[in-house]
């Protein structure tokens, strides 16, 4: 019989660090805390490991962002992902198959040109390519003809790709468990305890837990946790939907994104096409998929790949995204509640950041200092008017 991936424990009445949320961010933070010698740590997950966005995303990993701060941060994450299967001894199927962001207008082309140059200055492999070269990567894509928006150019990012998201989450949970962390599923935080401006513990459906540090890693639910300490953060929760088709023989070898057509697609190793778009444009905590999403994603996909018209859709789903005003995350200690840390605002793009943010936030909690790479994403940046604008690079290409 094989061992279980991680063990069940009684809930202790005190931990040094309590992490709320068993997604990639909570589990990676726990794993790296244990690596840095902080082992009296609990991850409290209301449902099961991977219930949130971490088990619902479309698994795109890339670093061709727009701002130097964003590029450096996501690049750090991609590099950690490149070594992660070995480090965690788990097959996370990271496939760096190449990522193409399409431009259909002159304005789109110049936006991508600027991004390519910024990427190159930051040492990220990314360049502008034109129809001849696009055809070599995706011979089956319609670039002109009856297209409303002919494909004029693409931002080509060879190191971008897809990963097996569930495996990443399970591997981090297993690694954290091996390091001494308690992973508690079906454990819901119902209140936060704040004493003299500092966090002192949490209340759960399984009883009270004292803690010197608490991490809010609940993504779409992060505002509900902040509210327990009387705090509001710059987040609005929106559903993001996706769908997959029946499996096909392998024919699509790159990730394709079009912001103009509001659609992106990749083919998994099982052969399914994974198709997504932008967030639903109204705030909601509903996890229910809608027909208008499936209709619009399919319509837009068919503009690029008309021959898919008879392919059947297998299923669709939604996940909750904690959207920030600048499409960048919020990582750090709450300015008004000592010991209350947050790693939130992961929006539609946070899965790829799990290793970097987990690693750096663990360092911050363990050392009490803010690592340089995290400074741009501090909770105080909004009041200081230091936004890290990534919308152009993250609203459709998550």
């Amino acid at each position: 019989m094989t061992d279980r991936m991680w063990r069940d424990h009684d809930l202790k009445d005190a931990y040094d660090v309590v992490i709320i949320g068993g997604g990639v961010h909570g589990l990676a933070t726990a794993y790296y805390l244990a690596q840095q010698g902080v082992t009296n740590v609990a991850v409290l997950e209301a449902r099961y490991v991977g219930f949130g966005g971490s088990g619902r995303n479309t698994a795109i990993v890339r670093s061709n962002y727009r701002t130097p701060e964003g590029i450096a941060f996501y690049d750090h994450s991609v590099k950690l992902y490149e070594k992660l299967a070995g480090e965690l001894d788990y097959n996370i199927m990271f496939s760096q198959r190449g990522h193409l962001t399409l431009a259909h207008t002159e304005r789109g082309v110049s936006g991508l040109r600027e991004r390519a140059l910024t990427n190159q200055l930051c040492g990220v492999n990314s360049r502008l390519i034109f129809p001849d070269e696009i055809r070599q990567h995706v011979p089956d894509m319609q670039l002109e003809g009856s297209l409303r928006y002919p494909v004029m150019a693409a931002l080509y990012h060879p190191s971008g790709g897809i990963i097996r998201h569930d495996a990443v989450v399970w591997a981090y949970a297993r690694g954290a468990d091996a390091g001494g962390v308690h992973v508690h599923q079906l454990t819901e935080v119902t209140d936060l305890e704040v004493t003299d401006g500092a966090i002192s513990g949490v209340m759960t459906n399984r009883g009270r837990v004292k803690a010197g540090a608490v991490v809010n890693a609940t993504a779409g639910y992060a505002s509900t946790i902040a509210a327990m300490a009387g705090r509001q953060i710059p987040l609005e929760t929106h559903p993001l939907q996706a769908l997959v088709t029946e499996p096909l023989k392998p024919w699509l070898h790159s990730v394709i994104v079009s912001s103009t057509l509001h659609v992106y697609v990749s083919q998994t190793d099982r052969g399914e096409l994974v198709i997504g778009a932008e967030v639903d444009d109204y705030a909601s905590y509903s996890l229910r998929g809608t027909l208008p999403f499936a209709e619009s994603a399919a319509t837009h996909l068919l503009e690029l790949f008309p021959f898919l018209a008879n392919v059947r859709m297998l299923r669709q789903w939604a996940g909750l995204c904690d959207m920030t005003p600048d499409y960048s995350p919020i990582i750090g200690e709450d300015p008004l509640v000592k010991g209350l840390f947050m790693t939130v605002g992961w929006g539609t793009y946070g899965f790829k950041a799990g290793p970097a943010s987990g690693h750096l936030l663990a360092e911050m909690i363990a050392s009490g200092r803010t690592p340089e790479r995290l400074e741009p994403f501090s909770p105080g940046r909004f009041a200081e008017d230091r936004l890290v604008g990534e919308k152009a690079a993250a609203s459709v290409s998550h």
Partner: protein
């Protein structure tokens, strides 16, 4: 954390918004304008304006909020919706809802 309330929704495939001028129409015809909130006065300190600009209540419960019917009558109006289920409980004309954020109206969870 319970999402089973969604089964109470009357409609399975698309979220419907009742426009007080028109009728129940799919959400795609509308623009969502965010929750109804109290706006600081023009003389309020900068900190209050920053908080109003960035911080969000982002309620997981019933709230009054703004919607704009962009595909038809092009009017702004108010809707009371459960953000857990998208169930709309009522709609109203601007001014009909006296206060800002109806705090403490959170549904039972």
């Amino acid at each position: 954390m319970d999402d089973r309330g969604q089964q109470g929704r009357e409609d399975g495939v698309s979220v419907m918004i009742p426009c007080p001028h028109c009728e129940r129409r799919p959400a795609g015809e509308f623009h969502f304008g965010g929750p109804l909130r109290d706006r600081p006065g023009p003389e309020a300190p900068t900190g209050e304006w920053i908080a109003y600009t960035y911080d969000q209540p982002n309620l997981r419960s019933v709230q009054w909020e703004w919607w704009f019917h962009r595909a038809a009558c092009r009017q702004w109006f108010l809707v009371r919706r459960d953000t857990r289920t998208n169930q709309v409980l009522e709609s109203a004309m601007p001014g009909e809802v006296a206060t800002g954020m109806p705090e403490g109206e959170a549904g039972d969870e």
